[in-house]
Amino acid sequence: MQELSPNPDSPGPGTTVVAGIASTGAEPLGVEASPPKRFGIGAWLALGWLVAIIVAGILVPFIGLKNTGDYFSFAKLAPFKNGSHILGVDDLGRDQLALLLWGARSSLTLGFGSVAFGMLVGGFFGLVAGYVGRWADTVITGVFNVMLAVPQLVLALALVTALSNDQPHIVGTSVQFSPVTPVRRLVVLIIALAVVSTPVLGRITRANTIAWSQREFVLAARAQGAGAFRVMFREVLPNVLPAMFSIGLLGIGVVIVAEGGLAVLGIGVHDPSISWGVLIASNRAAISTNLGYLLFEPVVFIFLTVLSLNYLGDVVRARFDVRESSL
């Protein structure tokens, strides 16, 4: 799995590594490196795919596509055999396109939700650590490092299992369970996956904050007596945002893949929700039959989405000249 994980201790100078993807600041030969600086055709394609998926995910409940099937037909129709089921019908008689769009809804909700959470929490603490420095920096960076030291999927797995199962408690002489609501389950998944991105986002925010805090206009604002919060949020934050966004975009892809991993382990989203990961997990054996498309379609959806997010992340990074070396 791709992972948003810089070394708890920064890599040596001269190395520039983000999220397991390396790139260089300088291109001595004038050779165009993979992340293009122009917003070219690739970027438009990536953006187009993401927008289409997001819009479809939002609209799917309103355009008559159901995520339940006609369980009595069990059609098992291959793709492109029937105009009304372009991507085929699964072994429960469900329209595969509808499932993929419903899946987009969950997968993207989790992806955006947990990265947004990570940005808020990680961003805030990173800003404080970078701006205030001293003991705040030591404590916050220490916490981030500890969080980074536990492999992320393991952490997410533990958190989801612990928090989204019904909790036993003793009532008199018997044990009762307090049920976990679907909303809580979703929140737990978002938080568990957010824990994955929080320290990374926190670190990049911190590093960029340190750099920007020394700029003239920031020092000037401070000299004019602006409060710390005002300077942090008005002067520093807007300049740090591009870096956060470029990492955040990668993070969304990481979260979508991580949810898929959890689904394979049987702890993804639950009925009536459905995610791409759940579709892959539940059709894992389909490939050895003639229903292989059931597995490949969600894999392609994840692939294209993650590819688009990574590409846009690179574009943003190149455009705003985000210095990964500052991680």
Binding site: T161, F177, A285
Partner: protein
């Protein structure tokens, strides 16, 4: 389904539920490996593979090793009094241990470690005579004392303590099974006398308990920390420590085993037997086809179907039967809404399209159950006589309406299924059936620990299940019988105040007819009287729908063409009052007798 049971296997350490060889209606094996087109509604059959030769003419050869795939591991180990084994665990136990009695093909029990088990006139005192000259794997002798200690440990009356004062052995389920035993006495070296509180005519069947009631050596029984993983029995194979949970367990030939075959040849034939945990259906199929597995015990219809096809083209053999088997069903919770109401139960029963479900999720291989007793089990009745409701959408809708009128609520519930993908898909099919009848259903997904905890603590409304293997129907006493007073006649809403006081009656129903007939069934050996008692229970279940019987589990043993001796080794000769047949039990729900397996060169 396979995946789920795999999990149950891992769960075993933890408690009760492990007792149940669970699985379920819903935990079907999905995947759509083609569409079976018809459903055979004929009587249950033993489905031998075409191309399987009559093996009686073959002469077994000794030596060699074999690998047997099991659907689950038993991470809780084999401290038999505490272990509560599922099917895969029982198969391993049968290699290492012997039981006092073994079932025969006619529903009776033959002596194994015992040569005779004899009751007094009122069935309150049973005398067990032990076979002489039998030694455990550690060289100690099987005598009356060690058998008494085992039986005491099973029933929770073993008095030895750990260093910290706790009981040395802490059985769970067997306390309930043997609650009728007053005391156990060792009389001399080869005689054990068991005294009952109430008459118990079917006691010999409980000395087998689906193969769970093996006799452990004193050293294992008394081991404070290693009872579960230092197995010492009298069985055909010995365990020498080669066990990796979730992967494999290997046993080696016991050269001093007490049994010989009919030609006087020493048993077992094999030198080494490895049990391999294979969770994935696809891995099981690939393993059998590539020859890395010699045989398997499975009830996974998704795998059985391709194995049957292979057998037709003579690539391998398969023995499959739903005789004397378990039931796949939906367990309901009668202590809470909505299934405390008979209309809700009827709505469910009429809405569940068992034919369609069988075709779509079980490769069309299963037979619909007519009640809790599989064909071959005392008390079995065809569906025409039990009158168990079957799919009828109009009736289902009627009962949904009736429920709504009577309670003023929508018929809404969660259907529980294990969190593997096959079970989830099957659960979605069940949900579709219920929705079509106007019920509001969501699928509840639980991991192994949660699933079992849900059952024990009553934290469920309906969930898929597999239990009640067919041996003597009195084996089900522990699951269904209640001591608390039952309503004289069942009102349409089961009163929570009458909920069953039996911890392992997970549904909590309490039925006067069932209680009485269960008691009747164990106080006589008269076949006619017993037959009537269990038929009454069967009919009462169909009328009250306490549980929703789905299908008979189809157990199968696919094997390579070189494997022989599957389920046809003659029983050890001995007698008991219950003995009516001589051939081995035909069911496969507790696996095969490993002593008889042999491999041709």
């Amino acid at each position: 389904m396979t995946r789920y049971r795999a999990h149950v296997g891992r769960q075993l350490p933890k408690a009760v539920a492990a007792i149940v060889t669970f699985g379920l209606v819903a935990a079907a094996c999905g995947g759509g490996s083609g569409t079976a087109t018809s459903t055979n509604n004929g009587p249950a059959t033993t489905q031998g593979a075409s191309g399987q030769v009559d093996e009686s003419s073959l002469t077994p050869v000794s030596g060699g090793s074999a690998t047997m795939a099991l659907e689950a591991d038993t991470t809780g180990g084999w401290c038999l009094v505490e272990a509560q084994l599922a099917a895969a665990g029982i198969q391993v136990a049968r290699a290492i241990y012997d039981t006092l009695m073994v079932p025969d093909d006619k529903g009776g029990y033959q002596g194994s470690l015992a040569t005779s088990v004899t009751p007094n006139a009122d069935f309150k005192t049973w005398t067990i005579k032990l076979r002489s000259g039998i030694k455990f794997h550690d060289g100690t002798a099987l005598d009356a004392t060690v058998v008494k200690n085992n039986l005491d440990a099973y029933r929770g009356a073993y008095t030895k303590k750990k260093a910290n004062g706790d009981n040395l052995r802490n059985p769970l389920l067997f306390i309930f099974v043997f609650s009728n035993i007053k005391d156990v006495q060792a009389a001399g070296t080869d005689t054990v006398v068991v005294n009952m509180n109430k008459p118990w005519s079917t006691f010999p069947s409980h000395l087998y308990q689906y193969g769970r009631l093996g006799i452990m050596a004193q050293a294992q029984l008394d081991s404070p920390d290693h009872c579960f993983d230092k197995m010492i029995g009298t069985g055909p194979f010995m365990f020498n420590g080669d066990w990796t949970p979730n992967n494999h367990l290997t046993v080696v030939k016991n050269p001093n085993y007490w049994r010989k075959d009919k030609n006087g040849k020493q048993l077992p034939y094999l030198d080494k037997l490895t049990f391999k945990t294979v969770l994935e259906t696809s891995s099981l199929i690939a393993g059998m086809r590539s020859g890395s597995l010699d045989l398997a015990v499975t009830d996974n219809t998704l795998a059985i179907k391709p194995f049957q096809d292979d057998a037709k083209s003579n690539k391998l053999k398969i023995l499959a039967t739903d005789k004397d088997t378990e039931i796949n069903y939906t367990i309901l919770n009668e202590k809470t809404e909505p299934f405390n109401n008979i209309n809700a139960r009827k709505a469910f029963a009429y809405a569940f399209n068992r034919d369609q479900y069988n075709v779509e999720r079980q490769n069309g291989l299963l037979q619909k159950a007519s009640g809790p007793f599989a064909p071959g089990v005392l008390g079995y009745l065809p569906a025409s006589e039990t009158k168990l409701p079957d799919y009828n959408l109009a009736m289902a809708k009627t009962y949904v309406k009736k429920y709504e009128t009577e309670t003023g609520q929508k018929l809404k519930f969660q259907y529980g299924a294990p969190n593997d993908s096959d079970s989830q898909k099957s659960a979605l099919v069940v949900k579709g059936f219920m929705q079509a009848a106007g019920m509001d259903v969501s699928v509840r997904q639980a991991d192994q620990s949660q699933y079992i905890n849900d059952a024990i603590s009553g934290n469920f409304q309906a969930q898929g299940w597999r239990n009640h293997p067919g041996f003597d129907p009195d084996d089900q006493y522990v699951w269904w019988h209640c001591d608390a007073p039952a309503p004289a006649t069942q009102p349409s809403t089961f009163p929570a105040a009458n909920a069953c006081d039996n911890l392992v009656n997970f549904s909590k129903f309490n039925d006067a007819v069932i209680n009485k007939n269960l008691d009747d069934g164990r106080t006589t050996t008269d076949p006619t009287a017993r037959k009537t008692a269990y038929e009454n229970i069967n009919k009462e279940f169909a009328a009250q729908l306490w549980e929703l019987w789905g299908y008979y589990a189809l157990w199968s043993v696919p094997s390579s063409l070189q494997m022989h001796g599957i389920a046809n080794l003659a029983l050890p000769t001995a007698t008991s009052v219950n003995a009516v047949g001589e051939k081995p039990f035909e069911g496969l729900s507790s696996g095969v007798d490993p002593a008889g397996l042999w491999k041709s060169k």
